[in-house]
């Protein structure tokens, strides 16, 4: 009881005007190492604001010890729930047990841990293989039965997004004999490497005349490759179809200009589904699935790319 009173007064103190019943949720973020992660942070804060949640944010600066300490502080503070994007998979057992004992539900965002699933409420994340599959399926319908030779820009060799997005794409085009991956090399997820590798593809494939489509494991490499295609005197989006993954703001500019054809979104909105699951759990104890897969939405030139760009450009990408 005393603890409750203390907690309530904490809320009042910190908010100035604490709304009765407003939930306090702690969010321990890995850091801000990439544009996508910065966008995830921004979206989480916006989502919390929309829902009237009092979000306590802690940036772990890429260090697990900071993250564990933040989780412990959240527990001591008596928050209603905790969101965590874990920096590494190992070493979470004891702090998750403490949260469980304090009856504070924990939701994992974007990355998994190797602890027992009993210790967290659910995990929200994207299925990387599925993303690749969506891209592949788009190309099958876009090629429309015609012969299509595809070049592929892979992510960093050996990284799980590179492996899974390649696998998914191959699954997506599996039934279509008219589509064939003729060249596949790593562009390291970067714009400059994407451009360089695309230049060599173009030279090797008859100045680009033999290439029908480009599949890039992320948008940044696609943007670099588009530059290379233009410099080779071809029209990206028409002479060579461009499909990639992530849906960062820059690719929407390319879509709007007709230079790219499709992108599959890796949504930075992991918190939305997490808050939904928590609301249902608090309302009547509904246990969510242990893994909530975010939608891998496909965007093409027909999906108002200019508007999508406007909506995303301020998210911190």
């Amino acid at each position: 009881m005393l603890e409750r009173i203390l907690m309530a007064s904490v809320a009042v103190f910190s908010l100035g005007a604490g709304v009765a019943g407003a939930q306090t949720i702690g969010f321990s973020q890995i850091g801000s190492e990439s544009g996508w992660r910065a966008a995830e942070t921004t979206v989480t804060m916006n989502q919390a604001k929309e829902r009237g949640i009092d979000l306590r944010f802690s940036d772990a600066q890429q260090r697990q010890e900071n993250q564990i300490a933040a989780l412990r502080s959240f527990i001591a503070q008596g928050v209603d729930a905790i969101l965590v994007a874990p920096v590494v998979a190992t070493g979470w057992d004891s702090v998750l047990e403490e949260a469980a004992e304090a009856e504070i539900p924990v939701v994992l965002l974007d990355r998994m841990v190797d602890s027992s699933p009993d210790l967290y409420l659910t995990a929200v994340g994207s299925d990387l293989v599925h993303e690749g599959r969506v891209a592949g399926e788009w190309l099958v319908s876009a090629a429309n039965g015609e012969e299509c030779r595809v070049v592929e820009l892979q992510g960093t060799t050996g990284s799980s997004p590179a492996i899974d997005r390649k696998k998914g794409f191959e699954e997506g085009i599996a039934g279509a004999d008219n589509i064939e991956i003729v060249r596949s090399q790593t562009g390291d997820f970067t714009r400059t490497r994407g451009k360089e590798v695309m230049e060599s593809f173009l030279q090797a494939e008859n100045g680009g005349a033999d290439i029908c489509a480009l599949y890039a494991h992320n948008d940044d490499m696609a943007v670099g490759a588009i530059q290379a295609i233009k410099e080779a005197g071809l029209k990206p989006g028409e002479d060579i179809l461009v499909v990639s993954i992530d849906a960062v703001p820059d690719i929407f500019q390319a879509l709007a200009a007709g230079e790219a054809n499709a992108t599959v979104e890796l949504t930075p909105n992991m918190a939305g589904p997490a808050f939904d699951a928590l609301e249902a759990y608090f309302a009547d104890g509904t246990m969510p699935e242990k893994f909530i897969q975010t939608e891998s939405k496909l965007y093409t030139q027909a999906d108002d790319p200019a508007g999508e760009y406007e909506a995303r450009k301020d998210l911190g990408y």
Partner: protein, 318 residues
Amino acid sequence: MNIRALPLYATIAIFLLAYLICYMQFPAMLSTRVIGNLLTDNAYLGIVAVGMTVVIISGGIDLSVGSVIAFSGVFIAVLLRETGMHPLAAFALLLAITTLFGAAMGGMIHLLAMPPFIVTLAGMFLARGAGYMLTIDSVPIDHAFYETMQRAYYLMPGKGRLTLLGVTMLASVILGMILLHRTKFGTNVYAIGGGEATARLMGVAVGRTTVLIYAFSGFMAGLAGIVFSVYTSAGYPLATVGVELNAIAAVVIGGTLLTGGSGYMFGTLIGVLTMGLIQTYIVFDGTLSSWWTKIVIGALLLMFILLQKGLLRLRISH
């Protein structure tokens, strides 16, 4: 009043004042949970800072400790994964290695008359590299004994946990206090920090003491590595980057003179807790950027350096 102890009093006063401010804003800060967390979450830092205090009082510096902690975690994790060794045996082996590593650095500093900064910088790269040689992944440790250690805590009133890790840290501080303030070794450390030539004239075995100082720091870094591996139940070669600097900061905030010769072990404990308190406050607030931790620590450091300069002048004019 003892002028030398002034920085210690300042440290304690700042800590109490900071805690009061935290408590006024967030009453939940004064709970056994938060106090237990402060001890547990900063256990590895506190232990390594005990070693660092001795080194700094002797006028030296040890930059290798952060890497040694990471190496220790990886060493234990890989050893437990590859062999059926009991963790306690692995701990003994590890502590022997890190102590020898420290002693070797101390030996080089003395025999080659090289600055500790350079020797321990080399040690820092060496230990980090050795960790990478063993593995580049985060290796989980699941051993029943580890679980026992993690579950070993005393539940204080108010659900706060006084964990084995926290108690290990407090015990290390007490050990450090005895060593520094009650033994011949401690007196020698202060003497060397006051000036090596004078110390030699006073009959201090400078070489032997230097080796012992860095061996002690290596031992403490190994112990901190064990504690850190229990804390995260994993070994990761990328862990604890820059912890040596946090430890130095804690020692200086704790009132120890960075040029050596003056300082108290107890101050270091307060320094560590002050840094933990800042971090806790920022998490409780939940809207401030975590980088404020660094900014506040920077400001505190600056303040203490100025304070020490001022005291030095005061002492000279008297």
